[in-house]
């Protein structure tokens, strides 16, 4: 027995030492925000930058990095890939422990603002002016990467949301994309009368219903008040908010959503669209790719802008960007800007356009496989409002999700939902003081 234990202990020790040795080359490479610059290559100081980025959807990145490193032999890029939720978690942990990488991917709105407002991101305002970003990127994307007047990210993607529908369903019922809110509502009833679920919404997580709520707010409140609601400069206990929640209640009661939609996974609701058992789903510029991934043809679907009867008629949008570490050394910041501008350039977008997503750049070639990308981006031509879960502080956004669910489940009246939101905003603001 003793020999057996000693043998096992020995094996374990050898394993640990071997593991330590084998992983020694990796140590500190990822979370180390400021790896020291390597020795010279071709006579110049080599700069090593670390980048955290999403994994899925960025399959084109390794090749783009190789190309960049070949043309910039003095810069090397170390990429760490995360999935969606892990990158949010890892960035927060790294920010709290001051171990952020040199540059990172993030979403706009309240997700990206955390790093800018806490002084962790480089102020790119002067860079944006010097490099004429307004001629390169969509202004909406630049605006959504700007906090307190400071540009704090290099825009990568600009996503625009719209109402997608299966062409077959609309053709069978002789429907066309609605031009007014009244027409939209009439189509919901027509779909329902023909045993088709009008709105394929799965609100587990809150996003699907939120995308409708924000359009109803834009419709009832108008752009000015809607913006003030999102910036917490107006009271949510407002008749326009009550009316918006009232519509959620009305649509629920009329059976416009799938049964039990409050707890339905968005992907389950999405399946109804493919089955042509539902009429409309609120998705964004990425949805062509989703349709293809799921084995269907994007040409069998079409999209219209939500008819909110407002002028300007704004679309729901959100941006994604690269932020650069404010604490990292100047040479690395310069290299990171160069790399970020390269990844968001027209040449790179055109090379990987099929997989790139919805670019923030103004000029790029449209792929045949994404037929709805251009119409959706054009639909934001009148302007856009930031998608609600990025516009609102996260705890207020969570309250909105709760309010939507409680209205749908008859636990709150629309008036109580508006009051609940107002209380959440007041509580949030008092904490900020």
């Amino acid at each position: 027995m003793k020999k057996w234990i000693l043998l096992l202990t020995g094996v374990l020790l050898v394993s640990i030492i071997a593991a330590g040795c084998s992983s020694g080359n990796n140590s500190g490479t990822v979370n180390n925000a400021s790896p020291s610059a390597d020795n010279t290559q071709n006579g110049g100081a080599k700069v090593n930058i670390s980048l955290w980025v999403l994994n899925t959807g960025w399959e084109w990145l390794p090749e783009a990095v190789r190309d960049f490193e070949q043309t910039n032999p003095n810069i090397s890029v170390e990429v760490t890939k995360y999935e969606v939720d892990p990158i949010k978690e890892a960035l927060k942990v790294a920010a709290s422990s001051k171990t952020l990488p040199d540059m990172w991917f993030t979403w706009g709105g309240s997700l990206g603002s955390f790093y800018a407002e806490n002084g962790m991101t480089m102020d790119l305002t002067q860079v944006a002016a010097d490099h004429k970003w307004s001629e390169i990127y969509n202004q909406t994307a630049i605006d959504m990467s700007t906090y307190d007047g400071k540009v704090s990210g290099i825009p990568i993607h600009l996503n625009v949301l719209g109402m997608w529908y299966p062409k077959n369903v609309y053709q069978k019922l002789n429907l066309q994309a609605p031009a007014t809110f009244a027409e939209f509502e009439s189509q919901l009833q027509t779909l329902k009368d023909n045993n088709i679920t009008p709105l394929a919404f799965g609100s587990k997580g809150g996003w699907h219903t939120m995308r409708l709520t924000e359009q109803l707010l834009e419709h009832f409140a108008g752009p000015e008040l809607h913006d003030k609601l999102n910036s917490l400069d107006a009271s949510w206990n407002d008749p326009a908010v009550v009316k918006a929640f009232g519509k959620i209640k009305e649509y629920t009661d009329k059976g416009y959503f799938p049964m039990g939609y409050s707890s339905l996974d968005p992907s389950e609701a999405e399946s109804l669209i493919y089955q042509e058992a539902a009429g409309i789903i609120n998705e964004g510029t990425w949805f062509d790719g989703t349709i293809i991934t799921n084995g269907f043809n994007p040409k069998d679907f079409d999209v219209f802008k939500f008819p909110n009867d407002q002028t300007p008629s704004r679309a729901s949008v959100f941006a994604e960007m690269f932020q650069i570490n404010a604490e990292t050394e100047a040479a690395k910041q310069e290299a990171a800007i160069k790399f970020g501008e390269y990844l968001t350039s027209t040449d790179v977008i055109n090379k990987y356009v099929e997989d790139y997503g919805s670019p923030a750049a103004l000029e790029f070639n449209i792929s045949d496989t994404t037929p709805h990308l251009k119409p959706l981006l054009d639909s934001a031509g009148d302007g856009g409002f930031l998608i609600t879960d990025q516009a609102l502080p996260q705890e207020v956004a969570q309250k909105l999700f709760e309010a939507q669910d409680k209205v749908a489940l008859d636990e709150w009246t629309p008036q109580q939902a508006a009051e609940g939101m107002d209380k959440a905003v007041t509580a949030y603001k008092s904490k900020q003081k």
Binding site: M1, K2, I5, L8, T9, L12, S15, I16, A19, G20, S22, S23, G24, N26, S27, G28, T29, V30, N31, N32, W52, L54, N55, T56, G57, T80, K81, Y82, E83, V84, D85, P86, E89, A90, V93, A94, S96, S97, K98, T99, S267, E268, E270, S271, Y274, Q275, E283, G284, W286, F287, G289, T290, T293, N294, G295, F296
Partner: protein
């Protein structure tokens, strides 16, 4: 001795309840299997509880290759094979000291270890990240073993201390008369007698390590070192999730835990029963 007879009605009721309970636990697994065996379009155009129109056995191979599961499973197996025995060895030594060495503050020290179970892992992420970065242990196996073993110690001591206390101290006295020192008592007497508890702990610890997600997603960021739980997330994109391959991957990933459970299950109940006594 006359066998205790159970009324056939009660027996039938007992089996009915057991079958219902088994169904409650098995139905989700069944739906995972259905999803794993469907094509993407089949999944999206038929109810989730429907049988696949055509069984897509190729999903498993695709998940294995596309999801780089051989690499992720090897990494996880390596971590488990080192962490589980190492952790149990440390826990057993600590439990032995707490129950057999009769020192003054043994109960207070036991309570101190238990405090470790009350600290939420989330609250330790930032300090751990600072520590591992400063010691250059991020993305290293020693760093991972340190964190995993540390978090496993309180539960292991709780189980083993309970079991060790059920072993009569008279055996220790006999061993002492026969010339055994403290380490001799540990290796020759206590450890062999505690095999049921250790087997129970192997099952718990292996499952916890194999399924660990939170620490792995923060402290293992290098793809070549990722574990199976974080690797499976590669089927989930920003806007869409490949549920067929993800479910195929999930089914593949549970095989090792199933094997470990089947290997050690005969000790499971006695180990657990002993550990909670006294």
């Amino acid at each position: 001795m006359e066998e205790l007879r159970v009324h056939p009605g009660i027996q039938a009721l007992r089996y009915t309840v057991l079958i219902l309970l088994a169904a409650i636990f098995l139905i989700p697994v069944l739906f995972i299997a259905f999803t794993a065996l469907k094509s993407k379009s089949d999944l999206l155009t038929s109810p989730f509880y429907a049988l696949p129109q055509k069984f897509q056995w190729g999903n498993f191979a695709e998940a294995w290759n596309q999801g780089k599961m051989s690499m992720y499973m090897s990494n996880t197996a390596f971590i488990c094979l080192v962490k589980v025995p190492l952790g149990i060895m440390i826990e057993a030594l600590a439990a032995f000291a707490l129950t057999r060495l009769n020192f003054k503050w043994s109960n207070s020290m036991f309570a101190f270890f238990l405090v470790g179970m009350m600290i939420p892992i989330q609250a330790t992420l930032v300090p751990l990240n600072i520590f591992l970065n400063k010691t250059h242990l991020v993305n290293t196996y020693p760093g991972i073993f340190l964190v995993y073993v540390g978090f496993g110690i309180p539960f292991g001591i709780l189980i083993l201390r309970g079991f060790f206390r059920t072993i009569p101290k008279e055996i220790d006295e006999s061993a002492l008369i026969d010339g055994c020192g403290d380490m001799g008592k540990f290796y020759r007497i206590v450890l062999p007698l505690a095999m049921p508890a250790i087997a129970t702990l192997v099952i718990f610890d292996f499952m916890a390590t194999w399924n660990e997600f939170l620490l792995a997603q923060i402290f293992i960021t290098k793809d070549s070192m990722r574990t199976i739980t974080t690797g499976l997330l590669s089927f989930k994109g920003e806007h869409a999730t490949d549920y067929t391959l993800m479910n195929a991957g999930v089914l593949i990933s549970i095989i090792p835990t199933l094997v470990v459970y089947l290997l050690f299950q005969k000790y499971f109940v006695s180990g657990l029963a002993g550990s909670v006594k006294g």
